[in-house]
């Protein structure tokens, strides 16, 4: 016990003495979460639009006004020719060009169907399809108005038929804001990066400096060394965890609907599984450079891309979905979003919680076994 205690004190002292390190470990998560939390927003709030109005009548202007007033469209340009319009798209200046045909008003008055072309800069498929949805909605409403007006004007008796209308209720996040979804995800990612990069250096650093050799010669046991490293880093990880949780709830005002203590508990399991992974990397690496590259490419990148933090796992091919089962971050993000946004608890999340626990324990045991007190 005494040995482990002295080890912990030593690690904490080293951490305390390294001012730059301390600053990065504590300040970086705060800054990152705040900046990235604001940035991680897939809401298509403003669609940069150009209009090519070949009709220039009261009706076409009214049609355009509908877009302006919707609040989603910023009409940045009025194109004077078709070439002009295509140029805007080529240069990436607008996402969509709405082309109003020549006899727009005349044809509508004649009760004929007019075609309105919408040209999309489609490279961002996601934004394009959401923008198309907005345009469809606005056009439908405008059409409906014209139909009603025509009916009133000409007294045409349009037969009534039965109709279906969707009544959509969005649960958990009625405004479909992406921020509430992204901030917990980013919190998970930041927690992962901080703890993993700290831990992956822990052993290999001493190996490179030469102190590990000195330690191996002492009667210290492998498990004492592992615990001596793990406990202080868990403490640091826990502080980081509390900091990011506070920012999420206090700064971003995201209300934790479920039990915050359960959240803290699962987060701790997650931190442990990351530390285990870091320890594993640290014990198998020969140099710090190897450890860093391995932790970035073999662990962090897959976790970031495949955990469902930004890219929905449901959209991935089946094979890749199987890979995602290996990632602790995936389970943690599911738990995190479940507790924070849905307010569910252990009864709905026990599978994920158990897997996270199993992974943490498993990885730690493997790393301790892998760390033999021999050097080659």
């Amino acid at each position: 016990m005494k040995t482990i205690y002295e080890f912990i004190i030593k690690e904490l002292l080293q951490f305390k003495r390294d001012k730059k390190m301390r600053a990065v470990v504590f300040m970086a998560p705060i800054l990152q979460l705040i900046l990235l939390g604001y940035a991680a927003n897939m809401d298509v709030d403003i669609v940069h639009t150009a209009i090519f109005d070949q009709d220039k009548t009261a009706t076409s202007r009214e049609f355009i006004k509908n877009f302006e007033e919707s609040g989603y469209f910023a009409i940045d340009y009025y194109a004077s020719s078709y070439e002009d319009a295509t140029e805007l798209i080529d240069m990436g200046k607008t996402i969509v060009v709405i082309v109003i045909p020549k006899d727009f008003e005349k044809n509508l008055n004649r009760r004929e169907t007019v075609s309105v072309q919408t040209l999309f800069e489609g490279s961002d498929g996601n934004t394009s399809s959401i923008a198309l949805g907005y345009i469809q909605g606005i056009t439908n409403r405008f059409s409906k108005k014209i139909v009603t007006e025509t009916r009133d004007k000409y007294g045409v008796n349009l037969a009534l038929s039965g109709s279906l209308t969707p009544e959509v209720r969005v649960w958990y996040n009625p405004e479909m804001k992406t921020r509430n979804y992204m901030v917990p995800g980013i919190m998970g990612v930041i927690l992962m990066i901080t703890t993993l990069s700290l831990m992956s250096m822990a052993v290999v650093r001493e190996r490179e400096i030469g102190t590990l050799e000195q330690l191996i010669v002492t009667p210290i046991k492998s498990y004492q060394l592992i615990l001596g490293k793990l406990i202080p880093f868990t403490m640091i990880g826990f502080i980081v965890l509390v900091i990011v949780m506070l920012i999420m709830t206090q700064w971003f005002g995201i209300v934790v609907r479920g039990n915050p203590l359960f959240l803290l508990f699962t987060a701790l399991l997650f931190v442990l599984s990351n530390l285990g992974l870091g320890l594993f990397i640290s014990t198998v690496s020969k140099t710090q450079q190897q450890a860093m590259m391995a932790s970035v490419f073999a662990v962090m990148m897959p976790m970031i891309y495949l955990s469902g933090f930004a890219f929905p796992i449901e959209n991935m091919p089946k094979v890749v979905q199987y890979i995602t089962h290996l990632l602790p971050l995936k389970y943690f993000i599911t738990i995190l979003r479940g507790i924070v946004l849905k307010g569910i608890g252990f009864s709905a999340l026990w599978v994920e919680t158990l897997i996270l626990f199993g992974m943490g324990a498993g990885i730690l045991i493997i790393s301790s076994l892998r760390f033999s007190k021999k050097v080659e």
Partner: protein
Amino acid sequence: MFHRIYAIAKKEFRQLKRDTRMLFIVFFFPVVLLAIFGYAINFDVKHIKVAVYDQDKSDYTREYLNGLVSSEYFDIVTHIDSDDEIKRLLDEKIVQAVIVFPNDLSRRLNNNEEVKVQYLVDGVDGNTANVIVNYVNAATYSYSLKLTKEYLAVKGKEIYVPINLEPRFWFNPELESTKFLIPGLMGMILIITAVISVSLSIVREKERGTIEQINVSPLSSLELIIGKTAPYIMISLINAAIVLLAGYLLFGIVIKGDIFLLLFSTLIFLFAALGLGIFISSIADSQQVAFQAANVTSLLPSLILSGFIFPIESMPAVIQWVTNITPAKFYIVSLRAILLRGVGISAFWEQLIYLMIFGVIFISLAALVDRKAKAA
């Protein structure tokens, strides 16, 4: 001057060549990651898992559901008999949406009344929810339109649709997000390789004290830096080529624009990224600090602040300003212009200028810090 740079570069190459693990990580992982991530990352919402609570069980509801299933957008996972189950299904993410048909659906349709089909959508992922809502609206309106058409046809009348939207999607007609995202992935992989490996390789010499040996030699710091970064520029270029080739073979991404322009932009981007790496190495005095700093400035920012997945226009003004800290932002714009739109340099020359300025600023800052350190 040249032979001294050559000597340093040769030494760096030799050290790299000997570190086979490192080479493996640097060359093997980017390709594997591109392959897996390329398939995995997309926002193309398909096969939405739905549960059906059909209280009517009529020909109408069967026809409606057949329409849903025949598109590849919806998969009916389960049928339920009471609304008690809805909460559990959504809570535990078993389905993404639940459709509820009221029990008087066919009666009211036959009476030419309006009927509401209720959809309960999991809104946790706002972006996906938005897309689901769009699909649901479209599916319901089109079925309703079909019913109306049939009804009017019986009465010998025609339906009047005033405006017909003709959407055209350029560059990416299928609106696949993969094509949009791969340039971003490329930028991220390159920046990580460049920033982390360069900052580490310089700080490593600092840590081991070998840099003092070099400092007393007639090498200028410029020569040292060029010599040390040259191998990494080559590695990054080879990486870029491999990633592009993989992009073509696996995802059919053809370089629409000029390949020399691509090479040129990539070189300028690498210059900026290396500038950042050199700056980090000037302020960090241990590999551990350099690693953390490189992570903070390049890992998440190149994903979240670069416009890779989150549109920069949707960010608050302050954050939009902050996005300039990641050179990936400028590179991704250029890359998309060359790869997807195939346009010339006139569409993105500003980006390249920014990258140059970025590189120059950070290298000057590094020189400044270095001079101060030597004076102290």
